[in-house]
Symmetry: C2
Subunit: 276 residues, 2 copies
Amino acid sequence: MRSDLDHVKAHGLQILSPEGNAHITEVHCHHSPADIGPCDLVIIALKSTSNSALLDLIPPLLKPNTMLLTLQNGLGNEEFLAENFGGHRVLGGLCFVCINRISPGVIQHIAQGQISMGEFNGLPQSRTRAVAAEFRQCGVPCEVAESLAEARWRKLVWNIPFNGLSISAGCIDTETILRSAPLESLVFALMKEIIETAGKLGHPLPKGLAEDMIARTKTMARYKTSSLIDFIEGREVEVEPIWGEPLRRAAAQGLEMPKLEVFYQLISHAVKARTP
Amino acid sequence: MRSDLDHVKAHGLQILSPEGNAHITEVHCHHSPADIGPCDLVIIALKSTSNSALLDLIPPLLKPNTMLLTLQNGLGNEEFLAENFGGHRVLGGLCFVCINRISPGVIQHIAQGQISMGEFNGLPQSRTRAVAAEFRQCGVPCEVAESLAEARWRKLVWNIPFNGLSISAGCIDTETILRSAPLESLVFALMKEIIETAGKLGHPLPKGLAEDMIARTKTMARYKTSSLIDFIEGREVEVEPIWGEPLRRAAAQGLEMPKLEVFYQLISHAVKARTP
Protein backbone atom coordinates (compact mmCIF):
# COMPACT_ATOMS: atom_id res chain seq x y z
CA MET A 1 0.00 0.00 0.00
CA ARG A 2 1.07 3.53 -0.63
CA SER A 3 -0.81 6.54 0.74
CA ASP A 4 -3.47 4.44 2.48
CA LEU A 5 -1.02 2.37 4.55
CA ASP A 6 -1.08 4.27 7.85
CA HIS A 7 -4.82 4.73 7.75
CA VAL A 8 -5.50 1.06 7.05
CA LYS A 9 -3.03 -0.08 9.71
CA ALA A 10 -4.80 2.10 12.26
CA HIS A 11 -8.44 1.72 11.16
CA GLY A 12 -8.61 -1.31 8.91
CA LEU A 13 -10.43 -1.48 5.60
CA GLN A 14 -14.06 -0.54 5.19
CA ILE A 15 -16.24 -1.84 2.41
CA LEU A 16 -19.56 -0.12 1.82
CA SER A 17 -21.85 -2.31 -0.24
CA PRO A 18 -25.52 -2.69 -1.08
CA GLU A 19 -24.97 -6.32 -0.09
CA GLY A 20 -23.97 -5.25 3.41
CA ASN A 21 -21.01 -3.27 4.74
CA ALA A 22 -17.86 -4.92 5.98
CA HIS A 23 -15.07 -3.75 8.24
CA ILE A 24 -11.83 -5.70 8.06
CA THR A 25 -9.82 -4.72 11.08
CA GLU A 26 -6.66 -6.73 10.57
CA VAL A 27 -5.29 -6.23 7.11
CA HIS A 28 -1.99 -7.76 6.08
CA CYS A 29 -0.63 -4.66 4.44
CA HIS A 30 2.93 -3.60 3.70
CA HIS A 31 4.66 -0.59 2.32
CA SER A 32 7.32 -2.43 0.37
CA PRO A 33 7.39 -5.84 -1.32
CA ALA A 34 10.74 -6.49 0.37
CA ASP A 35 8.75 -6.71 3.63
CA ILE A 36 6.72 -9.54 2.11
CA GLY A 37 9.33 -11.64 0.32
CA PRO A 38 8.82 -14.44 -2.24
CA CYS A 39 5.20 -15.58 -2.83
CA ASP A 40 3.37 -18.31 -4.68
CA LEU A 41 1.00 -15.84 -6.28
CA VAL A 42 1.24 -12.09 -6.88
CA ILE A 43 -2.01 -10.36 -7.72
CA ILE A 44 -1.40 -7.15 -9.63
CA ALA A 45 -4.10 -4.53 -9.22
CA LEU A 46 -2.01 -1.42 -9.86
CA LYS A 47 -3.37 1.02 -12.38
CA SER A 48 -1.76 0.09 -15.66
CA THR A 49 -0.49 3.60 -16.26
CA SER A 50 1.95 2.86 -13.41
CA ASN A 51 3.22 -0.40 -14.87
CA SER A 52 6.82 0.81 -14.94
CA ALA A 53 6.76 0.73 -11.11
CA LEU A 54 6.29 -3.05 -11.35
CA LEU A 55 9.89 -3.39 -12.49
CA ASP A 56 10.93 -2.55 -8.90
CA LEU A 57 7.89 -3.89 -7.07
CA ILE A 58 7.83 -7.44 -8.39
CA PRO A 59 11.41 -8.83 -8.13
CA PRO A 60 11.42 -9.15 -4.29
CA LEU A 61 8.27 -11.27 -4.55
CA LEU A 62 9.62 -13.80 -7.01
CA LYS A 63 10.72 -17.36 -6.60
CA PRO A 64 11.08 -19.80 -9.53
CA ASN A 65 7.40 -20.71 -9.79
CA THR A 66 5.76 -17.50 -8.62
CA MET A 67 2.62 -16.79 -10.61
CA LEU A 68 1.83 -13.23 -11.66
CA LEU A 69 -1.89 -12.60 -12.03
CA THR A 70 -2.81 -9.23 -13.47
CA LEU A 71 -6.31 -8.01 -12.73
CA GLN A 72 -5.69 -4.74 -14.57
CA ASN A 73 -7.84 -3.18 -17.25
CA GLY A 74 -7.43 -3.32 -20.98
CA LEU A 75 -4.89 -4.84 -23.31
CA GLY A 76 -1.13 -5.08 -22.97
CA ASN A 77 -0.60 -5.87 -19.28
CA GLU A 78 0.11 -9.59 -19.66
CA GLU A 79 2.55 -8.77 -22.45
CA PHE A 80 4.34 -6.28 -20.22
CA LEU A 81 4.73 -8.85 -17.44
CA ALA A 82 5.76 -11.60 -19.85
CA GLU A 83 8.43 -9.43 -21.39
CA ASN A 84 9.93 -8.51 -18.06
CA PHE A 85 9.42 -11.61 -15.93
CA GLY A 86 8.76 -14.47 -18.35
CA GLY A 87 5.48 -15.50 -19.99
CA HIS A 88 5.30 -18.82 -18.13
CA ARG A 89 4.48 -16.98 -14.90
CA VAL A 90 1.70 -14.86 -16.29
CA LEU A 91 -2.04 -15.22 -15.75
CA GLY A 92 -4.64 -12.57 -16.36
CA GLY A 93 -8.04 -11.88 -14.95
CA LEU A 94 -10.90 -9.51 -15.52
CA CYS A 95 -12.87 -8.03 -12.69
CA PHE A 96 -16.51 -7.39 -13.44
CA VAL A 97 -17.13 -5.11 -10.54
CA CYS A 98 -18.20 -1.55 -9.95
CA ILE A 99 -16.14 -0.22 -7.08
CA ASN A 100 -14.68 3.15 -6.22
CA ARG A 101 -12.12 3.98 -3.57
CA ILE A 102 -13.85 6.95 -2.01
CA SER A 103 -11.38 7.85 0.75
CA PRO A 104 -8.31 6.27 2.40
CA GLY A 105 -9.19 2.73 3.42
CA VAL A 106 -12.79 3.04 2.24
CA ILE A 107 -14.07 1.14 -0.79
CA GLN A 108 -17.56 1.67 -2.11
CA HIS A 109 -18.98 -1.39 -3.80
CA ILE A 110 -21.78 -0.53 -6.22
CA ALA A 111 -22.53 -3.65 -8.24
CA GLN A 112 -21.28 -7.04 -9.40
CA GLY A 113 -18.06 -8.68 -8.26
CA GLN A 114 -16.96 -11.65 -10.32
CA ILE A 115 -13.64 -12.54 -11.87
CA SER A 116 -12.88 -14.31 -15.10
CA MET A 117 -9.30 -15.49 -15.38
CA GLY A 118 -7.02 -17.49 -17.61
CA GLU A 119 -3.49 -18.23 -18.73
CA PHE A 120 -1.49 -15.79 -20.83
CA ASN A 121 0.12 -18.68 -22.72
CA GLY A 122 -2.53 -21.06 -23.98
CA LEU A 123 -5.18 -23.10 -22.25
CA PRO A 124 -5.98 -23.27 -18.53
CA GLN A 125 -3.69 -25.46 -16.43
CA SER A 126 -4.27 -27.10 -13.09
CA ARG A 127 -2.70 -24.03 -11.41
CA THR A 128 -5.27 -21.81 -13.14
CA ARG A 129 -8.11 -23.82 -11.63
CA ALA A 130 -6.37 -23.83 -8.26
CA VAL A 131 -6.16 -20.04 -8.18
CA ALA A 132 -9.80 -19.74 -9.26
CA ALA A 133 -10.76 -22.12 -6.46
CA GLU A 134 -8.94 -19.89 -3.95
CA PHE A 135 -11.01 -16.92 -5.05
CA ARG A 136 -14.24 -18.89 -4.79
CA GLN A 137 -13.24 -20.11 -1.34
CA CYS A 138 -13.00 -16.42 -0.30
CA GLY A 139 -16.51 -15.81 -1.61
CA VAL A 140 -15.51 -14.23 -4.90
CA PRO A 141 -17.25 -15.84 -7.90
CA CYS A 142 -14.43 -16.76 -10.26
CA GLU A 143 -14.52 -18.62 -13.51
CA VAL A 144 -11.68 -19.92 -15.63
CA ALA A 145 -11.69 -18.61 -19.18
CA GLU A 146 -10.54 -20.96 -21.92
CA SER A 147 -9.19 -17.95 -23.78
CA LEU A 148 -7.94 -14.98 -21.81
CA ALA A 149 -7.71 -12.88 -24.98
CA GLU A 150 -11.36 -13.52 -25.71
CA ALA A 151 -12.28 -12.58 -22.14
CA ARG A 152 -10.26 -9.35 -22.41
CA TRP A 153 -12.05 -8.36 -25.61
CA ARG A 154 -15.34 -9.20 -23.98
CA LYS A 155 -14.65 -6.79 -21.18
CA LEU A 156 -13.56 -4.11 -23.64
CA VAL A 157 -17.03 -4.36 -25.17
CA TRP A 158 -18.23 -2.69 -21.96
CA ASN A 159 -15.24 -0.55 -21.02
CA ILE A 160 -14.62 1.12 -24.37
CA PRO A 161 -18.09 2.67 -24.72
CA PHE A 162 -18.98 3.27 -21.09
CA ASN A 163 -15.61 4.49 -19.84
CA GLY A 164 -15.28 6.44 -23.10
CA LEU A 165 -18.65 8.16 -23.04
CA SER A 166 -18.44 8.82 -19.32
CA ILE A 167 -15.56 11.18 -20.15
CA SER A 168 -16.24 12.38 -23.67
CA ALA A 169 -19.97 13.02 -23.37
CA GLY A 170 -19.36 15.49 -20.56
CA CYS A 171 -18.49 13.62 -17.35
CA ILE A 172 -21.61 11.54 -16.83
CA ASP A 173 -22.45 8.22 -15.16
CA THR A 174 -23.79 5.02 -16.70
CA GLU A 175 -27.42 5.86 -15.99
CA THR A 176 -27.16 9.25 -17.67
CA ILE A 177 -25.53 7.63 -20.70
CA LEU A 178 -28.32 5.08 -21.08
CA ARG A 179 -31.11 7.60 -20.52
CA SER A 180 -29.93 9.47 -23.63
CA ALA A 181 -31.23 7.91 -26.85
CA PRO A 182 -28.30 9.16 -28.97
CA LEU A 183 -25.75 7.90 -26.46
CA GLU A 184 -27.44 4.54 -26.04
CA SER A 185 -27.37 4.05 -29.78
CA LEU A 186 -23.70 5.05 -29.75
CA VAL A 187 -22.92 2.50 -27.02
CA PHE A 188 -24.60 -0.14 -29.13
CA ALA A 189 -22.81 0.86 -32.35
CA LEU A 190 -19.45 0.91 -30.60
CA MET A 191 -20.08 -2.49 -29.01
CA LYS A 192 -20.93 -3.92 -32.42
CA GLU A 193 -17.68 -2.59 -33.86
CA ILE A 194 -15.66 -4.16 -31.04
CA ILE A 195 -17.48 -7.49 -31.25
CA GLU A 196 -16.97 -7.63 -35.01
CA THR A 197 -13.27 -6.82 -34.68
CA ALA A 198 -12.76 -9.35 -31.88
CA GLY A 199 -14.34 -11.99 -34.11
CA LYS A 200 -12.01 -11.14 -36.98
CA LEU A 201 -9.02 -11.31 -34.62
CA GLY A 202 -10.01 -14.86 -33.69
CA HIS A 203 -11.92 -14.13 -30.50
CA PRO A 204 -15.56 -14.77 -31.37
CA LEU A 205 -17.96 -13.29 -28.84
CA PRO A 206 -21.48 -14.51 -28.24
CA LYS A 207 -24.42 -13.18 -30.24
CA GLY A 208 -26.56 -10.76 -28.31
CA LEU A 209 -23.65 -9.73 -26.10
CA ALA A 210 -24.17 -6.00 -26.77
CA GLU A 211 -27.89 -6.20 -26.04
CA ASP A 212 -27.24 -8.21 -22.86
CA MET A 213 -24.60 -5.83 -21.56
CA ILE A 214 -26.78 -2.79 -22.15
CA ALA A 215 -29.74 -4.45 -20.48
CA ARG A 216 -27.60 -5.50 -17.50
CA THR A 217 -26.12 -2.03 -17.14
CA LYS A 218 -29.62 -0.56 -17.06
CA THR A 219 -30.42 -2.67 -14.01
CA MET A 220 -27.29 -1.47 -12.18
CA ALA A 221 -27.18 1.50 -9.85
CA ARG A 222 -25.75 4.60 -11.50
CA TYR A 223 -22.01 4.15 -11.72
CA LYS A 224 -19.17 6.54 -12.41
CA THR A 225 -16.62 4.52 -14.38
CA SER A 226 -13.10 4.27 -12.99
CA SER A 227 -11.83 6.28 -15.97
CA LEU A 228 -14.27 9.08 -15.22
CA ILE A 229 -13.19 9.24 -11.59
CA ASP A 230 -9.54 9.25 -12.61
CA PHE A 231 -10.33 11.99 -15.10
CA ILE A 232 -12.24 14.15 -12.66
CA GLU A 233 -9.69 13.76 -9.89
CA GLY A 234 -6.79 14.64 -12.15
CA ARG A 235 -5.21 11.19 -12.01
CA GLU A 236 -3.84 9.36 -15.02
CA VAL A 237 -6.47 7.77 -17.23
CA GLU A 238 -5.82 4.31 -18.74
CA VAL A 239 -6.07 5.65 -22.28
CA GLU A 240 -3.71 3.21 -23.98
CA PRO A 241 -4.86 -0.14 -22.49
CA ILE A 242 -8.55 0.64 -22.99
CA TRP A 243 -8.67 2.62 -26.25
CA GLY A 244 -5.20 2.80 -27.81
CA GLU A 245 -4.04 -0.81 -27.66
CA PRO A 246 -7.21 -2.43 -29.09
CA LEU A 247 -7.03 0.04 -31.99
CA ARG A 248 -3.40 -0.89 -32.63
CA ARG A 249 -4.10 -4.62 -32.38
CA ALA A 250 -6.79 -4.25 -35.01
CA ALA A 251 -4.60 -2.04 -37.21
CA ALA A 252 -1.78 -4.61 -37.02
CA GLN A 253 -4.16 -7.03 -38.75
CA GLY A 254 -5.31 -4.44 -41.26
CA LEU A 255 -8.62 -3.85 -39.50
CA GLU A 256 -10.19 -0.45 -38.98
CA MET A 257 -12.16 0.55 -35.90
CA PRO A 258 -13.33 4.01 -36.95
CA LYS A 259 -15.67 4.62 -34.02
CA LEU A 260 -13.09 3.54 -31.49
CA GLU A 261 -10.59 5.78 -33.26
CA VAL A 262 -12.80 8.81 -32.66
CA PHE A 263 -13.04 8.03 -28.95
CA TYR A 264 -9.33 7.36 -28.66
CA GLN A 265 -8.53 10.79 -30.07
CA LEU A 266 -11.25 12.60 -28.13
CA ILE A 267 -10.13 11.07 -24.85
CA SER A 268 -6.44 11.59 -25.60
CA HIS A 269 -7.24 15.24 -26.16
CA ALA A 270 -9.44 15.56 -23.09
CA VAL A 271 -6.76 14.07 -20.86
CA LYS A 272 -4.04 16.30 -22.29
CA ALA A 273 -6.20 19.42 -22.21
CA ARG A 274 -7.01 18.77 -18.56
CA THR A 275 -3.42 18.71 -17.31
CA PRO A 276 -1.69 21.87 -18.48
CA MET B 1 -35.12 41.55 -39.52
CA ARG B 2 -36.41 40.40 -36.23
CA SER B 3 -34.92 41.54 -32.92
CA ASP B 4 -32.27 43.75 -34.56
CA LEU B 5 -34.72 45.86 -36.58
CA ASP B 6 -35.11 48.89 -34.33
CA HIS B 7 -31.43 49.04 -33.52
CA VAL B 8 -30.40 48.86 -37.17
CA LYS B 9 -32.99 51.43 -38.23
CA ALA B 10 -31.63 53.82 -35.61
CA HIS B 11 -27.90 53.08 -35.77
CA GLY B 12 -27.28 51.24 -39.02
CA LEU B 13 -25.18 48.14 -39.41
CA GLN B 14 -21.60 47.89 -38.20
CA ILE B 15 -19.08 45.49 -39.62
CA LEU B 16 -15.86 44.97 -37.69
CA SER B 17 -13.23 43.40 -39.89
CA PRO B 18 -9.47 42.90 -40.03
CA GLU B 19 -9.82 44.29 -43.56
CA GLY B 20 -11.23 47.54 -42.17
CA ASN B 21 -14.45 48.37 -40.33
CA ALA B 22 -17.56 49.55 -42.09
CA HIS B 23 -20.61 51.42 -40.91
CA ILE B 24 -23.66 51.23 -43.17
CA THR B 25 -26.00 53.93 -42.00
CA GLU B 26 -28.94 53.43 -44.34
CA VAL B 27 -30.03 49.82 -44.38
CA HIS B 28 -33.10 48.73 -46.32
CA CYS B 29 -34.53 46.61 -43.58
CA HIS B 30 -38.07 45.44 -42.95
CA HIS B 31 -39.90 43.56 -40.28
CA SER B 32 -42.22 41.66 -42.57
CA PRO B 33 -41.88 40.37 -46.14
CA ALA B 34 -45.31 41.88 -46.89
CA ASP B 35 -43.62 45.31 -46.55
CA ILE B 36 -41.23 44.30 -49.32
CA GLY B 37 -43.47 42.59 -51.86
CA PRO B 38 -42.52 40.45 -54.87
CA CYS B 39 -38.79 40.29 -55.76
CA ASP B 40 -36.58 38.96 -58.52
CA LEU B 41 -34.30 37.26 -56.04
CA VAL B 42 -34.79 36.18 -52.43
CA ILE B 43 -31.60 35.39 -50.52
CA ILE B 44 -32.29 33.05 -47.63
CA ALA B 45 -29.87 33.33 -44.74
CA LEU B 46 -32.13 32.15 -41.94
CA LYS B 47 -30.74 29.45 -39.70
CA SER B 48 -31.97 26.19 -41.16
CA THR B 49 -33.46 25.05 -37.87
CA SER B 50 -36.08 27.78 -38.48
CA ASN B 51 -36.95 26.64 -42.00
CA SER B 52 -40.60 26.13 -41.13
CA ALA B 53 -40.87 29.94 -40.75
CA LEU B 54 -40.09 30.22 -44.48
CA LEU B 55 -43.54 28.85 -45.27
CA ASP B 56 -44.95 32.20 -44.10
CA LEU B 57 -42.02 34.42 -44.94
CA ILE B 58 -41.55 33.58 -48.61
CA PRO B 59 -45.01 33.70 -50.28
CA PRO B 60 -45.37 37.53 -50.13
CA LEU B 61 -42.03 37.81 -51.96
CA LEU B 62 -42.94 35.58 -54.89
CA LYS B 63 -43.79 36.35 -58.48
CA PRO B 64 -43.67 33.75 -61.25
CA ASN B 65 -39.93 33.90 -61.84
CA THR B 66 -38.67 34.77 -58.39
CA MET B 67 -35.43 32.97 -57.65
CA LEU B 68 -34.83 31.54 -54.18
CA LEU B 69 -31.15 31.41 -53.26
CA THR B 70 -30.39 29.62 -50.00
CA LEU B 71 -27.06 30.49 -48.40
CA GLN B 72 -27.77 28.21 -45.46
CA ASN B 73 -25.52 25.53 -44.02
CA GLY B 74 -25.57 21.82 -44.65
CA LEU B 75 -27.76 19.51 -46.66
CA GLY B 76 -31.51 19.58 -47.18
CA ASN B 77 -32.31 23.27 -47.57
CA GLU B 78 -32.68 23.32 -51.37
CA GLU B 79 -34.92 20.26 -51.10
CA PHE B 80 -37.11 22.00 -48.55
CA LEU B 81 -37.52 25.04 -50.79
CA ALA B 82 -38.10 22.92 -53.89
CA GLU B 83 -40.80 20.92 -52.17
CA ASN B 84 -42.68 23.97 -51.01
CA PHE B 85 -42.10 26.50 -53.75
CA GLY B 86 -40.97 24.52 -56.82
CA GLY B 87 -37.51 23.29 -57.73
CA HIS B 88 -37.23 25.56 -60.79
CA ARG B 89 -36.87 28.58 -58.49
CA VAL B 90 -34.14 27.18 -56.32
CA LEU B 91 -30.47 28.07 -56.27
CA GLY B 92 -28.04 27.33 -53.49
CA GLY B 93 -24.86 28.91 -52.33
CA LEU B 94 -22.15 28.29 -49.78
CA CYS B 95 -20.55 31.05 -47.82
CA PHE B 96 -16.93 30.53 -46.95
CA VAL B 97 -16.75 33.16 -44.30
CA CYS B 98 -16.04 33.38 -40.60
CA ILE B 99 -18.45 35.89 -39.14
CA ASN B 100 -20.25 36.20 -35.84
CA ARG B 101 -23.09 38.53 -34.94
CA ILE B 102 -21.73 39.84 -31.66
CA SER B 103 -24.54 42.23 -30.67
CA PRO B 104 -27.61 43.81 -32.31
CA GLY B 105 -26.53 45.34 -35.61
CA VAL B 106 -22.88 44.42 -35.13
CA ILE B 107 -21.18 41.78 -37.24
CA GLN B 108 -17.63 40.70 -36.56
CA HIS B 109 -15.82 39.50 -39.66
CA ILE B 110 -12.91 37.23 -38.83
CA ALA B 111 -11.72 35.69 -42.07
CA GLN B 112 -12.59 34.86 -45.68
CA GLY B 113 -15.75 35.93 -47.46
CA GLN B 114 -16.42 34.20 -50.75
CA ILE B 115 -19.52 32.50 -52.10
CA SER B 116 -19.81 29.48 -54.31
CA MET B 117 -23.27 29.06 -55.83
CA GLY B 118 -25.16 26.90 -58.28
CA GLU B 119 -28.50 25.62 -59.48
CA PHE B 120 -30.49 23.07 -57.49
CA ASN B 121 -31.65 21.41 -60.72
CA GLY B 122 -28.71 20.68 -62.96
CA LEU B 123 -26.09 22.89 -64.56
CA PRO B 124 -25.64 26.65 -64.18
CA GLN B 125 -27.92 28.82 -66.33
CA SER B 126 -27.54 32.38 -67.48
CA ARG B 127 -29.48 33.50 -64.39
CA THR B 128 -26.95 31.73 -62.19
CA ARG B 129 -24.10 33.71 -63.73
CA ALA B 130 -26.15 36.90 -63.51
CA VAL B 131 -26.66 36.49 -59.77
CA ALA B 132 -22.98 35.66 -59.26
CA ALA B 133 -22.08 38.81 -61.22
CA GLU B 134 -24.30 40.87 -58.87
CA PHE B 135 -22.38 39.59 -55.88
CA ARG B 136 -19.05 40.36 -57.50
CA GLN B 137 -20.25 43.85 -58.38
CA CYS B 138 -20.89 44.38 -54.65
CA GLY B 139 -17.34 43.30 -53.88
CA VAL B 140 -18.16 39.75 -52.79
CA PRO B 141 -16.04 37.14 -54.58
CA CYS B 142 -18.53 34.69 -56.02
CA GLU B 143 -17.98 31.70 -58.24
CA VAL B 144 -20.51 29.55 -60.03
CA ALA B 145 -20.28 25.87 -59.15
CA GLU B 146 -20.96 23.37 -61.91
CA SER B 147 -22.40 21.04 -59.27
CA LEU B 148 -24.07 22.52 -56.22
CA ALA B 149 -24.17 19.11 -54.54
CA GLU B 150 -20.42 18.76 -54.94
CA ALA B 151 -19.93 22.25 -53.49
CA ARG B 152 -22.15 21.39 -50.52
CA TRP B 153 -20.16 18.25 -49.76
CA ARG B 154 -16.99 20.23 -50.10
CA LYS B 155 -18.13 22.64 -47.44
CA LEU B 156 -19.19 19.78 -45.18
CA VAL B 157 -15.59 18.59 -45.30
CA TRP B 158 -14.82 21.65 -43.17
CA ASN B 159 -18.05 22.05 -41.20
CA ILE B 160 -18.49 18.49 -40.00
CA PRO B 161 -15.15 18.23 -38.20
CA PHE B 162 -14.63 21.82 -37.09
CA ASN B 163 -18.19 22.62 -36.04
CA GLY B 164 -18.39 19.12 -34.54
CA LEU B 165 -15.19 19.23 -32.52
CA SER B 166 -15.79 22.81 -31.45
CA ILE B 167 -18.76 21.46 -29.47
CA SER B 168 -17.86 17.88 -28.64
CA ALA B 169 -14.24 18.40 -27.64
CA GLY B 170 -15.30 20.80 -24.92
CA CYS B 171 -16.30 24.15 -26.46
CA ILE B 172 -13.08 25.18 -28.17
CA ASP B 173 -12.13 27.32 -31.16
CA THR B 174 -10.41 26.32 -34.41
CA GLU B 175 -6.95 27.21 -33.16
CA THR B 176 -7.32 25.08 -30.03
CA ILE B 177 -8.53 22.17 -32.15
CA LEU B 178 -5.50 22.34 -34.45
CA ARG B 179 -3.00 22.81 -31.65
CA SER B 180 -4.03 19.38 -30.29
CA ALA B 181 -2.32 16.51 -32.09
CA PRO B 182 -5.14 14.01 -31.38
CA LEU B 183 -7.80 16.46 -32.55
CA GLU B 184 -5.88 17.44 -35.68
CA SER B 185 -5.59 13.78 -36.60
CA LEU B 186 -9.30 13.39 -35.95
CA VAL B 187 -10.12 16.36 -38.20
CA PHE B 188 -8.06 14.74 -40.91
CA ALA B 189 -9.62 11.28 -40.48
CA LEU B 190 -13.12 12.74 -40.52
CA MET B 191 -12.37 14.80 -43.62
CA LYS B 192 -11.09 11.69 -45.38
CA GLU B 193 -14.29 9.83 -44.53
CA ILE B 194 -16.43 12.65 -45.94
CA ILE B 195 -14.33 13.02 -49.09
CA GLU B 196 -14.49 9.29 -49.71
CA THR B 197 -18.26 9.19 -49.23
CA ALA B 198 -18.82 12.24 -51.43
CA GLY B 199 -16.84 10.50 -54.17
CA LYS B 200 -18.94 7.36 -53.88
CA LEU B 201 -22.11 9.47 -54.04
CA GLY B 202 -20.92 10.91 -57.36
CA HIS B 203 -19.38 14.13 -56.06
CA PRO B 204 -15.65 13.64 -56.48
CA LEU B 205 -13.62 16.16 -54.48
CA PRO B 206 -10.06 17.18 -55.31
CA LYS B 207 -7.08 15.28 -53.94
CA GLY B 208 -5.33 17.06 -51.15
CA LEU B 209 -8.51 18.89 -50.11
CA ALA B 210 -8.23 17.78 -46.47
CA GLU B 211 -4.58 18.84 -46.24
CA ASP B 212 -5.36 22.18 -47.91
CA MET B 213 -8.29 22.94 -45.64
CA ILE B 214 -6.33 22.16 -42.50
CA ALA B 215 -3.39 24.26 -43.67
CA ARG B 216 -5.69 27.16 -44.56
CA THR B 217 -7.49 26.95 -41.20
CA LYS B 218 -4.14 27.15 -39.42
CA THR B 219 -3.45 30.49 -41.07
CA MET B 220 -6.83 31.88 -39.96
CA ALA B 221 -7.38 33.82 -36.76
CA ARG B 222 -8.89 31.66 -34.01
CA TYR B 223 -12.55 31.20 -34.83
CA LYS B 224 -15.49 29.99 -32.81
CA THR B 225 -17.70 28.10 -35.26
CA SER B 226 -21.29 29.22 -35.66
CA SER B 227 -22.45 25.93 -34.15
CA LEU B 228 -20.32 26.49 -31.07
CA ILE B 229 -21.72 29.99 -30.59
CA ASP B 230 -25.26 28.68 -31.03
CA PHE B 231 -24.47 25.93 -28.54
CA ILE B 232 -22.95 28.22 -25.93
CA GLU B 233 -25.71 30.81 -26.22
CA GLY B 234 -28.46 28.23 -25.88
CA ARG B 235 -29.76 28.68 -29.43
CA GLU B 236 -30.71 25.82 -31.71
CA VAL B 237 -27.75 24.05 -33.33
CA GLU B 238 -27.99 22.95 -36.98
CA VAL B 239 -27.51 19.30 -36.06
CA GLU B 240 -29.52 17.73 -38.89
CA PRO B 241 -28.25 19.72 -41.91
CA ILE B 242 -24.61 19.43 -40.87
CA TRP B 243 -24.35 15.96 -39.30
CA GLY B 244 -27.66 14.11 -39.62
CA GLU B 245 -28.54 14.62 -43.28
CA PRO B 246 -25.13 13.68 -44.75
CA LEU B 247 -25.25 10.48 -42.68
CA ARG B 248 -28.73 9.68 -44.01
CA ARG B 249 -27.75 10.45 -47.62
CA ALA B 250 -24.86 8.03 -47.31
CA ALA B 251 -27.01 5.38 -45.59
CA ALA B 252 -29.62 5.67 -48.35
CA GLN B 253 -26.90 4.46 -50.74
CA GLY B 254 -25.75 1.73 -48.37
CA LEU B 255 -22.67 3.68 -47.28
CA GLU B 256 -21.44 3.89 -43.71
CA MET B 257 -19.84 6.95 -42.17
CA PRO B 258 -18.87 5.59 -38.77
CA LYS B 259 -16.85 8.59 -37.60
CA LEU B 260 -19.57 11.02 -38.61
CA GLU B 261 -22.07 8.79 -36.83
CA VAL B 262 -20.16 9.17 -33.57
CA PHE B 263 -20.21 12.95 -33.88
CA TYR B 264 -23.86 13.03 -34.84
CA GLN B 265 -24.79 11.14 -31.69
CA LEU B 266 -22.42 13.03 -29.42
CA ILE B 267 -23.70 16.39 -30.64
CA SER B 268 -27.34 15.29 -30.55
CA HIS B 269 -26.79 14.32 -26.93
CA ALA B 270 -24.91 17.50 -26.05
CA VAL B 271 -27.66 19.69 -27.50
CA LYS B 272 -30.40 17.76 -25.71
CA ALA B 273 -28.51 17.62 -22.43
CA ARG B 274 -27.97 21.38 -22.56
CA THR B 275 -31.65 22.33 -22.78
CA PRO B 276 -33.48 20.61 -19.92
